[in-house]
Symmetry: C2
Subunit: 340 residues, 2 copies
């Protein structure tokens, strides 16, 4: 049986997520007919390798999307705000990796393992939002538990890699490390200060209560995807000097007893989860182990006796893959299978 | 008025904390008459600079402590278990930086800003315990708040520097980074795996519930120092690739309302605390800023609306100084002023 093939545009083709997107499309054998790498005029003309063919990156314009079936956007919120409607109008379905449309009630926000059925809602605006990177792995890890036992509250502390801030951030960490080792002045254009061998509890911008938008994404996007609009979420988002792979410490307050053994049994069967939980053998999730794969590694599943029915866990995932590119391509696969 | 001077032994004189101890004793003008640096036979013979004089490190023996008034121990739990009683028997007061005696009901566990009055209990065994490094900064930060409003529960996620695992751990991180940048094989004798650009949610040993001893220290030592034996504490301890300076995300569930403004006012006046909380100006605590100073930096003070009377904060302190050496010398100062 011949698979139908589709025309795919990648907006932000030269960025950290865009680059990953090409790799994931190939690895997963996504049936691409025509590939259209798009970027700002600054990056237009660069070359991209995809499935043995070299493509020239074209400049993103409002009329770029004629004949495109699926447009994968990851070039920042402003670019999506301006160009996603043009892509939708031209007949493409946009899968947007920025935060711009995520809380729009007419745009589904989807992690396939969690709420694949919401993809059908794409028809309203022809846009599907891909969630925030650190939120994706949390909902993948907690959904199988919440399906078994209702939840009251979730406390979340993140350990986020610099790749979440883009390619320039990875370069700057690298330049900072080499500058330190060579006694040169530190570049700090991206982070505004030393990120190497330091920890920065400031991702995004602060509101008047002192929460960052990154922290509010964890709360609001979790609520939307889990269909739990009143879920209580406390969150602190912290950048750590890791190149790639986000980690999250999660403390759950459940409505009823869920033993660590039962939780592990659920996680072992859960889609998108790889249980790594033999701490006495030093088998725990690390961002380095998560990096390069699609699964969310979950471990350190423990009873939390500080609260009735408390359970805590630690998870890690590749924020460029499952936290961005893989999740977007998974959405595209379901879209293609069920809707296009 | 001539200050009385005392004879001080430092056990573990060549370790990360021992080295810091000499610096802190000098900086604070501690009235040392005779200084006695002690270490294992392996390090005996090494030289130490202190206040313009060079001292030879002597081998630690049971009869090392004749004439010593204060013995500062930081050479590991086994060394303290074996030699602290000998020092006490010889008439010294031991200030022990290891975990060995911390939960002994006849040994006070002290952070001067929190429970200085407990120092008087030293008479029972002539031993005073210095708490775990990450716990010290947490109790310094929360004590002024708990004095104003009683607390129900505390959730704590740590971001701990490698210096907390000793000098060899700092060396190994350094060697790992240079090995990575030179495409050489990574040494991993201390961490058992790559710590550079990675995160390890495993500090210490695991019990059957999956908690580490480091995590239980946070709970048990906080309870003892705050005189809150039933305080509910959830904790995840995580090592991050930072050379020095521990960071902690803290979520408090208070019994009554305490506004962030009131909390900040209390913290501004609190001993040992430096409030760094203008996040919109990117003024937040970082381990790099905390490193080299004695204050616990506290910031990101926020209302946590996920729970009644919730308040969260982020703090950083130098784990070798306030987390170890400075706290021990502060205890020695009070001991000298009030008891010797």
């Amino acid at each position: 049986m011949a698979k139908k093939k589709v025309n795919v545009a990648v907006v932000g083709a030269t960025g950290a997520v865009g680059t990953e997107m090409f790799g994931v499309l190939q690895e997963r054998g996504f049936p691409v007919d025509r590939l259209l790498p798009l970027a700002s005029s600054r990056s237009a003309g660069e070359e991209i390798e995809f499935a043995g063919t070299t493509y020239k990156v074209e400049e993103l314009k409002h009329d770029s999307f004629a004949g495109i079936d699926i447009a994968l956007f990851s070039a920042g919120g402003k670019v999506s705000a301006e160009f996603a409607p043009s892509a939708a109008k031209a007949g493409a379905v946009v899968i947007d990796n920025t935060s711009h449309f995520r809380m729009d009630p007419d745009v589904p926000l989807v992690v396939p393992e969690v709420n694949a059925k919401d993809i059908g809602e794409y028809k309203k605006k022809r846009i599907i939002a891909n969630p925030n990177c650190s939120t994706i792995q949390v909902v993948v890890a907690v959904k199988p538990l919440f399906d078994a036992v209702p939840v009251k509250r979730m406390v979340v502390s993140t350990y986020q890699a610099v790749s979440g801030a883009g390619k320039e951030a990875m370069d700057e960490l690298n330049e900072q490390v080499t500058a330190l080792y060579n006694h040169r002045e530190l570049p700090q254009e991206i982070f505004g200060r030393q990120m190497a061998f330091n920890v920065l509890a400031a991702i995004g911008t602060f509101d008047d209560n002192g929460d960052t938008d990154e922290e509010l994404k964890m709360r609001n996007e979790s609520r939307k995807m889990l269909h739990l609009p009143a879920l209580a979420v406390a969150c602190t988002c912290v950048r750590v000097p890791v190149y790639n792979g986000h980690s999250v410490a999660v403390y759950l307050e459940l409505e009823k007893e869920l033993s660590p053994d039962k939780a592990r049994a659920l996680l072992r069967e859960a889609p998108g989860v790889l249980l790594v939980d033999e701490p006495k053998k030093r088998q725990i999730p690390t961002p380095l182990d998560a990096s390069g794969q699609d699964a969310t590694l979950v471990g350190r599943v423990r009873r939390d006796e500080s609260v009735p029915h408390g359970l805590s866990l630690f998870c890690c995932a590749d924020n460029l893959r499952k936290g961005a590119a893989t999740n977007a391509v998974q959405i595209a696969e379901i879209l293609l299978r069920d809707h296009l």
